[in-house]
């Protein structure tokens, strides 16, 4: 048997940190003794199988409720959703490393690149990176955000319209714009056409009116041009938009925060689960939390996947939109209140079991 304090013992002690502290205090030496008893002479580090077994069972032990078959599933659901929310919050913070949305001069230069020699109308700029009804978000607008208008919180953009385009086929206008944009270093994405209206009175025979959107990106900037076939098959008007793409810090910040949030959520879930093992009253508020936190996610993801597939996206939608936020912020808030009730109940001390009698021999 290896002596206490040897490298193997130190490795085992580190692995035992996966168990909750109170459990380690009570059973740590006992499990360590068994690990050392079963280790063959000369072993200096745990095998992968042994380490996996201790980590897996230690993490399970943190959840308490040893007879429950579902507590692990609830812990995973909690850790995943908390990790996602933390990642979304971190990604929003990381967005602050972005340059401001394009100003009038930058937008005018880009639009002139796309449609050289054409008259561009009044350019509207965004007052902030993200806007709520076109304005920077203010806390006074919190009630609007919570009560159903959360979907209006969107990335800002600079926009303008171009009128009086030459009445030539869409492809011809697009070809010219593509050529100019490529020459200026833009990456061009596949164009998307959407037929959603029909020309009846001015067209003989009637034809479908198709709006065509061209998307391009350069560095941290995304450009969109939509050609409208007003009253006939040849477009004469265009809507132009330009906005910032997610800065490079967003993905690493989201991944790191998501992992940290998930691990912390597992630990807090385990703590609350152990302390409320004999308090069935917490199941209802916990169930409400899970329902209200997951529902917007389950509704938003299919819808955004469809949207993402329908048109090219040089940049993914912000993570919080995939979580149904802030559209579902009222759900999130009520769920959070229920979670706080569960944590409040968990903070009430529980009764400990009586210790065993220990006999010293040998």
């Amino acid at each position: 048997m290896p002596p206490t304090g040897d490298p193997l013992t130190r490795h085992y002690r580190r692995l035992l940190l996966c168990y909750p502290r109170s459990y380690r205090r009570d059973r740590g030496e006992e499990i360590l003794g068994l690990l050392l008893d079963t280790a063959p002479a000369g072993r200096i580090r745990p095998t992968v199988r042994e380490a996996f077994d201790v980590v897996r069972n230690g993490l399970r032990c943190r959840l308490g409720r040893p007879t429950s078959r579902t507590v692990g599933v609830w812990a995973v659901l909690t850790a995943v959703i908390c990790g996602l929310f933390t990642a979304a919050a971190a990604s929003r913070v990381a967005w602050e490393t972005s340059r401001p949305q394009p100003d009038r001069a930058e937008a005018a230069a880009i639009f002139a690149d796309a449609l050289p020699g054409r008259s561009i109308g009044q350019i509207e700029t965004a007052p902030a990176l993200f806007v709520f009804y076109g304005e920077p978000f203010r806390w006074q607008a919190l009630d609007d955000m919570l009560f159903g208008d959360g979907g209006e919180y969107q990335p800002g953009f600079a926009s303008a319209s171009a009128t009086g385009l030459p009445p030539v086929p869409v492809e011809q206008t697009l070809a010219v714009t593509r050529q100019h944009l490529r020459a200026s270093g833009w990456r061009i994405y596949e164009t998307v056409s959407r037929a959603d209206r029909e020309c009846v009175s001015a067209c003989d025979p009637p034809v479908a009116l198709t709006d065509t959107t061209l998307v391009a990106s350069r560095g941290d900037t995304v450009f969109r041009m939509t050609l409208f076939a007003e009253g006939g098959p040849n477009p004469t008007n265009a809507a132009l938009e330009v906005q910032r793409a997610a800065p490079p810090a967003v993905v690493p910040a989201a991944v790191l925060a998501g992992l940290v949030g998930g691990v912390l959520a597992w630990l807090v879930f385990g703590w609350a689960s152990r302390r409320t093992e004999y308090r069935p009253g917490v199941a209802l508020p916990f169930g409400i939390t899970m329902f209200l936190w997951w529902l917007p996610v389950l509704l938003a993801i299919p819808s955004l996947i469809g949207h993402q597939r329908a048109e090219p996206h040089p940049d993914w939608h912000p993570l919080w939109e995939w979580l149904g936020q802030p559209t579902g912020s009222l759900f999130f808030l009520i769920g959070t209140v229920c979670a706080l009730i569960v944590l409040g109940c968990s903070a009430v001390p529980r009764r400990d079991t009586a210790p065993l009698r220990t006999i010293a021999t040998g």
Partner: protein, 106 residues
């Protein structure tokens, strides 16, 4: 009842055992087919204790190392009886069908 649980209860049916004793006994009973790793063993013991099938018996400190003994409870004995009867019934049925199969395959 899963096989490791059945084997742990069977090991404890012979008398109180500490963790190392249980793992050795389980390995012997299963002819080395089942090797209980420490994490798995204590998770199972916690579950069996919470179900009232096993309970801690006593603790000893041997050569400075803590050893906690576990014993099977009357409820544990009942559960082991029930599971043994179930396995025996299944084994009997399977043996009967295998006996019927032998002449045809010979």
């Amino acid at each position: 009842m899963r096989e490791p649980t059945f084997l742990i209860l069977t090991a404890l049916a012979a008398g109180p055992r500490h963790g190392y004793g249980i793992t050795q006994d389980v390995a012997d009973l299963s002819e080395r087919r089942v090797t209980l790793l420490p994490g798995t063993l204590y998770t199972a013991l916690d579950r069996l204790t919470a179900q009232g099938l096993v309970q801690p018996d006593r603790e000893e400190v041997v050569d400075g190392r803590l050893r906690r003994y576990y014993r099977i409870t009357p409820e544990g004995v009942d559960a082991l009886h029930t599971e043994t009867a179930r396995l025996r019934q299944l084994a009997t049925v399977a043996e009967a069908r295998l006996r019927g199969l032998r002449p045809r395959t010979a």
